[in-house]
Symmetry: C2
Subunit: 468 residues, 2 copies
């Protein structure tokens, strides 16, 4: 798989900007650059020190394409571990295209998505989980996701996995040693120690595996459904939440132009809102279908904000609470009740409603009283929203799994370890135990890249953007 | 106007990419960077050589924001002429925003659009017309526009203007010297030499001024209207032209994602298509309004492709040709006739139509016979289209004015020079001549920036993107 031909690609986003960067990596990166680069002093890049910057023009024979600054990196001290040249040109798509065509005509080839990072992995500059963290870092849009990706890039996740593997490897070697002496019925691997170790490992794998629910939510935004009867004020509430956030996001002019619709960030945690139609009782077949759909969408949410209208009578208010509690029981979904329109009714009214809710639904469901119209008590709602997320794991810096591939591997490793534990209970012979331990080792190795196939690598790096 | 506080901004386009570059410029660029940059070896940027690259992390106290590569430039050998630091980080909007907030909290401020280039101009790194060429280069989407902008950035345009100014300055000094000796009725400035010079200058200014029509068309695309009766095949022809071009544009995967609707590039020249509704005879008031609008759009075009349907009878074919020729007479607009649907009729039919057209309209109007449906003879049409543009000026490297501000200044300078010539004819006294020459000098100086006001600078640099 290891190739050292010279690849090139734009490394900066497409679009018009002040500058764009074209990246070259490979054995001939410097030679190809020297072929098209003209320095005012006539110097050649090949004779320059590494980690230096050089001003000049890029020309195709007599035709000047652009004035550029070239950054020169030498193997192995570069991103890919190969010779790397970065050309900063004016940020025109036309110029970038001309530059790439020129480099290709002089012997470079267009890089595949993720090929620079693939080379970094193959050259031992980073392990596989770190390489994947690079893609996550680029995609990070919130403080929480950024933090998790940064931890992963710094290798914290890999460290934990490697520690587990080393301990398991030690045991499996001892068990396999027993097999060589199988006639003699010796036990080199202490079964009670192995029992203890597998217990520890099982627990750790389970924790990592379970962290994926949070990790995935952090990565894609915690899905929140705003439910409630028609006219209870769902849209006003959503607009209020979104508007508050937009104002923060656009504080620094020109930095954040691509605001994604219908997501907000509260204290660095990303929430993604799911639109739902109003809930109501109906006998109409078509309307019933619409409400079916609303329930389905509520099913995708981790948090449900149920908006209540205190101007309605008590039964009408309590009915949807009962319905939703019925639907989400035996799930991990969190329900938050919102008594809206506090500007329209007396405090005594909302207090009575609260009492009735507690009588029906118990004390565990958080209740926020607010006016979406006036924007009152929004901060309280945000704070309640944040509490619904297991934010502690995030703050304490525990490793959180965000990658579906890692999750799958952890699940398989966990299943194998559970089989080992059962095998120990049932006094299974060493060779059968060894087989399951080997399987766990295999899946753990897949995460760090100690065990890889071209298919795994292809799947990972194809998802990268060009130029990374 | 000259400020040396430290400014920062993203220099690469917004969006997700492998890397993004944040640029800092000003007296404290290095100090602020050292404040947040942590090198693995503990080195400080302030002690490093200029034009060098440094790997490390950017951290806000204990919180690591990203792993970065820093490019270090020292005044005056930088883009702005000040100390400049370029931070290459991972291409996430979130990371960029965090970085900018951090830099601002340590004493930098967000740059205004074009402020880096404004500083380059104020520090004498480039003249005004070169600074404007930077914006044009970034916006360049075709070979022709790129070539013109590159010439301008290299100062060719400014050179010509400066030569004119120097010669005029020489004369105006002599004339003003006469004024000091006005009692004695001497002539230091040879009137016949001045006459010859103003004649030369007038011609040059006229050529430059007139080149703006081409320059503007190159910059924004040559406007082409596809006209014709309903069902003559206008849309099929447009789709054919556009499709051919798209295929070329997307040859290098990932380089050109933002294809602008309805423009094509033929041999590096940009054509922009103007939609028109079908022309037809009608007495209906509303339809008449629609046809009014079509005529108005045809009025905006420089080239009109009139699509003819050879399956119709001769009178119906010739009528719109007469109408359009009537409308565009005494303008510079070019008419190209297209006999479409060559797949539906015999060659003898199209040949007869050609003969009738030549009998009516003469030999000067180019005629292309093709089938838009089959894509036959498209190359011939493209070649005819290209011929309608004064592409010679482009190929010979003559200076072409693309900037409306330059055009206005050239027009004013030209008017002043014409007044000088008239004054010389009428034997006007030196002080009146000097006044007009001074005016011409003023406008020429505005182009290069030798004469500027804050308003002129504001107008120019406000149009730049942030980070340039």
């Amino acid at each position: 798989m290891l190739q050292n031909d010279t690849i090139c690609a734009p490394a900066t986003p497409q679009g018009v900007g002040a500058i764009a960067v074209i990246r070259l990596s490979g054995d001939k990166a410097v030679e190809i650059s020297d072929n098209v680069f003209v320095s005012p002093s006539g110097k050649k890049l090949a004779k320059q020190k590494p980690n230096t910057l050089h001003f000049g023009t890029i020309a195709d024979n007599q035709t000047v394409i652009d004035e550029v600054v070239i950054g020169l990196f030498r193997a192995p001290h570069s991103y890919t571990g190969e010779d790397v040249v970065e050309i900063s040109c004016h940020g025109s798509l036309y110029i970038q295209q001309q530059l790439l065509e020129l480099l290709i005509s002089r012997g470079a080839r267009m890089a595949q998505p993720g090929e620079f990072t693939l080379r970094a992995f193959l050259n031992g500059k980073m392990d596989l989980s770190q390489a994947e963290a690079v893609a996550d870092l680029i995609a990070s849009t919130s403080r929480s996701f950024h933090k998790v990706a940064m931890n992963q890039m710094k290798g914290r996740f890999t460290e934990e996995i490697k520690k587990l593997r080393d301990r398991l490897l030690n045991f499996v070697s001892l068990i396999e040693l027993e097999l060589d002496f199988s006639e003699e019925d010796v036990e080199f691997a202490d079964r009670s120690q192995l029992k203890q170790l597998t217990g520890e490992i099982e627990q750790l794998l389970r924790t990592l595996k379970d962290s994926f629910a949070l990790g995935n939510a952090i990565k894609n935004g915690i899905p929140v459904a705003i439910a409630g009867r028609t006219n209870s004020g769902k849209s006003t509430l959503l607009n209020l939440l979104l508007k508050e956030d937009r104002a923060i996001v656009s504080e620094i002019e020109g930095t954040t132009r691509d605001v994604i619709e219908d997501t907000i960030t509260i204290d660095g945690i990303h929430f993604r809102f799911i639109d739902t139609a109003g809930l109501r009782h109906t006998e109409d077949t078509i309307e019933k279908l619409g409400i079916e759909r609303t329930w389905k969408k509520i099913g995708q949410a981790e948090i449900i904000l149920l908006v209540l209208d205190p101007t309605k009578d008590e039964n009408e208010i309590l009915q949807p609470i009962k319905e939703i509690r019925q639907k989400i029981k035996e799930t991990d979904k969190k329900l938050v009740l919102i008594i809206n329109k506090s500007d329209l009714v007396d405090k005594s009214v909302t207090n009575n409603i609260k009492k009735s809710i507690i009588a029906t639904a118990g004390k565990d469901t958080p209740i926020v009283t607010l006016s979406a119209k006036n924007g009152d008590h929004l901060k309280q709602l945000e704070s309640v929203l944040k509490k619904q997320v297991h934010a502690n794991d995030l703050e304490t810096g525990n490793v959180i799994v965000t990658n579906a591939r890692h999750y799958e591997a952890l699940k398989m490793a966990h299943e194998a370890i559970v089989r080992v534990m059962e095998g120990l209970e049932n006094l299974l012979p060493g060779d059968l135990l060894a087989q399951d331990i080997r399987e766990a080792l295999h899946y753990l190795g897949e995460i760090t890249g100690e065990i890889t196939t071209d298919e795994i690598l292809g799947n990972i790096f194809n998802k990268f953007c060009i130029g990374k």
